[in-house]
């Protein structure tokens, strides 16, 4: 089945998630996977939907006040095989240009696949938390390279094994 990749961004306000969800439901779009968060006061929503045509979704979202939307038809993708072991990277320090670029480049160079990432700027403090699948046997290497990058950036970095308790 055809999938739609949808983004909705706008000033956060009460009821915005309900408005977007109702607009999608109204044209028969099912939310498969979605994530919604607030970024510095902007409401941000990214979704994969099925069951509706792109034009219909665009029309349904158009009346929403003050939000920026994109709708694109995409081919279904299989979830990538989990290659490697789950790790967490924490970075914190004084804000400066290029922290995310430098850290994620080091992760990629070690074959690490970033599966989730959050950054927060609060006052002068910049924080990055990333979940990374690291190829077996490469974690020590990655930790050493992250330490070098952190030193250059003047930030603190830790790499540690993520725990996933199955209950």
């Amino acid at each position: 089945m055809n999938e739609l990749a949808i983004t909705v961004i706008g000033p956060d306000r009460t009821g915005i998630v309900a408005e977007v969800s109702e607009a999608l439901a109204g044209v028969g779009a099912n939310l498969s996977d979605s994530t919604m968060t607030r970024l510095r006061g902007h409401f941000a929503m990214t979704l994969i939907c099925t069951g509706a045509a792109a034009e219909d979704v665009e029309k349904a979202l158009a009346p929403l006040q003050g939000v920026l939307t994109t709708v694109r038809a995409v081919a279904p993708e299989a979830d990538a095989d989990v290659a490697g072991e789950p790790y967490l990277v924490s970075v914190h320090g004084a804000d400066r240009l290029g922290i995310v670029a430098a850290v994620t480049r080091v992760v990629a160079a070690a074959g690490g696949n970033i599966t989730d990432l959050t950054t927060r700027l609060t006052g002068p403090l910049y924080v990055l938390i990333a979940e990374v699948d690291v190829p077996a046997g490469r974690a020590d290497d990655l930790a050493a390279q992250l330490a070098v990058a952190a030193q250059e950036l003047g930030v603190e970095v830790t790499l540690r094994r993520a725990e996933s308790d199955v209950l």
Partner: protein, 183 residues
């Protein structure tokens, strides 16, 4: 519980504590390993009193470590007596050169920190710990067994003394939260 800790009160330090400004991240002292201290050193005794005084004037503060007042030393104060998540509590106490020697019953919990005022995070900590340390002033060794929120506070403060913040231990990319401001 060690008798030394049962009898311990901040008054035994014999000096008046000063309220010190609390340092916030990103400050280098928060990310540097604190030095082991000589518990009999008058500067360490003064620092212990200052930590107690600073904790007491800070609303909701249940623990404060030397790096948070700009001193790279392995000294901290804890008092979780009034906290609703507390089970075992040992009152107000200051420890020097503390180590976690046993840790079990790991569980997640939400943590904040005066040195990271705008964020909280989910951190897995041991719900039962045994900590060994020495008391400021006398240098008397203590071995403290505790649980629940006091155990969490001890691990958080011992981390500070090792140059670690809760940000270094959060459980995932979605495990940090902007602290809400209630007016």
């Amino acid at each position: 519980m060690s008798d030394a800790l049962a009898d311990w009160k901040p008054d035994v330090l014999g000096v008046e504590g000063k309220v010190l400004p609390v340092v916030t991240a990103p400050a280098g002292v928060l990310s540097s390993e604190g030095a082991e201290v000589d518990p009999a050193d008058p500067a360490v005794v003064q620092l212990a009193a200052d930590l107690v005084a600073t904790m007491r004037v800070s609303p909701g503060c249940v623990g404060l470590a030397a790096p948070q007042v700009g001193v790279g030393a392995q000294v901290f104060v804890v008092d979780v007596t009034e906290h609703p998540k507390t089970v075992t509590a040992h009152g107000t106490f200051v420890l020097c050169n503390a180590r976690v020697v046993e840790a079990s019953r790991w569980r997640p919990g939400r943590e904040g920190c005066m040195s990271v005022p705008d964020l909280t995070g989910d951190v897995k900590r041991a719900g039962r710990v045994v900590v060994e340390a020495v008391l400021p002033g006398t240098g008397e060794p203590v071995r403290l067994t505790t649980d629940a929120f006091e155990a969490r506070a001890l691990q958080h403060e011992i981390d500070h003394c090792a140059g670690k913040l809760f940000l270094d231990r959060v459980a995932g990319a979605h495990a940090i939260y902007q602290r809400k401001v209630y007016l």
